[in-house]
Symmetry: C2
Subunit: 204 residues, 2 copies
């Protein structure tokens, strides 16, 4: 039992250390020796838990996807029903905040765009894209969208803009910020809301 | 003279091959052996022209910056003065087209976001960012912007969105497309133009 708990702790420490290194150095250059050292284990222990670098990246992505799902579920629980646009704006701000603080979530998003990383590993960005689209379809159903706004088309713009801010934020953290996201929503919201009183671009 | 011409041709072939490989594989994984092979020269000849991988990447970026400047100058020459917003929309579409076809231009943009690439190499994206901002300041001067629109704030949104489309386009070319850029401008233009008859979101 104690042994099993220790194994779970080691696995978590390795995932956290790998996320740090993948996010800071990129998948290719990230060193397994440095990752095991940061996690406080031998490289033998790393290979016991994750036989390959791919397996380690895959575990980071799985953990990141889980955190994204929890983040979105939390936002859904806090938002009154029938306010899908507010949910979308708030979730974007929450994600921006968390991407700065949470290396696992950040690495999950970044591995999706990392050419050095095998293409089969990833999907956190895709999850975010699908959720944006589903939420805008919900907004259409509840009459929150102005006539003529097509959820799938708008979803692509929202998604591209958030990916752009996150990409630029890798070199300059000021880009992946609530200030920048607020600028986007200030531009977009008045064009897409049916009601004059749409959600606050800065989030609620 | 003939020898000098051959040197210029070799240099160009190496830059083109390097751009292909940097863009396809990323800076870190790109192989100098494969680059010299594609350029039809020995690795010795590659090292004669470019002593390091960094020097080669730097040459790709310099060539890409030159192409971007020419592209923007061409758009400026074709656009009637006093139509800065139309210039911005058209240049974005022209850039999107060229990014798909021109590996040197594409690699120049991508090396900016490539964590494996030394940070001092780059600046093509920054050039694009500065040009967007200068063009929007011009639009403000000629009264094309709606009251309350702040050029620097709008420039950040336009820049982030184009970087997002280009980043997503690395894995799925459908993203870096005029269709996607048109969606963005369809959303943004009615919010920012002083006049009801702004430029065509699909470009002119």
């Amino acid at each position: 039992m104690v042994k099993q708990e220790r194994a779970v702790r080691t696995r978590k420490a390795l995932i956290a250390a790998a996320a740090d290194h993948f996010s800071h150095d990129g998948y290719g250059p990230a060193s397994l020796v440095a990752i095991s050292r940061q996690a406080g284990v031998t490289t033998g222990a790393l290979h016991f838990h994750f036989p390959t670098k791919e397996a380690l990246a895959s575990a980071v992505v799985t953990a990141a996807a889980q955190r994204l799902r929890e983040l979105l579920a939390g936002c859904e629980a806090r938002t009154p029903s029938g306010e899908a646009l507010r949910l979308l704006v708030d979730a974007g701000h929450e994600l921006t905040r968390r991407l700065r603080e949470d290396a696992v979530l950040r690495a999950g998003f970044e591995l999706d765009g990392d050419l050095g990383c095998p293409e089969g590993i990833g999907g956190v960005r895709g999850l975010w894209c699908l959720w944006i689209q589903a939420t805008l379809e919900q907004a259409e159903k509840t009459g929150e969208l102005r006539e003529g706004v097509v959820p799938a088309q708008l979803a692509a713009v929202v998604y591209a803009c958030t990916v752009g801010l996150q990409t630029l934020g890798r070199r300059d953290p000021g880009w992946c910020s609530q200030r920048m996201l607020t600028r986007f929503w200030s531009l977009a919201l008045p064009r897409i809301t049916a009601d004059r009183r749409g959600p606050d671009p800065a989030g609620s």
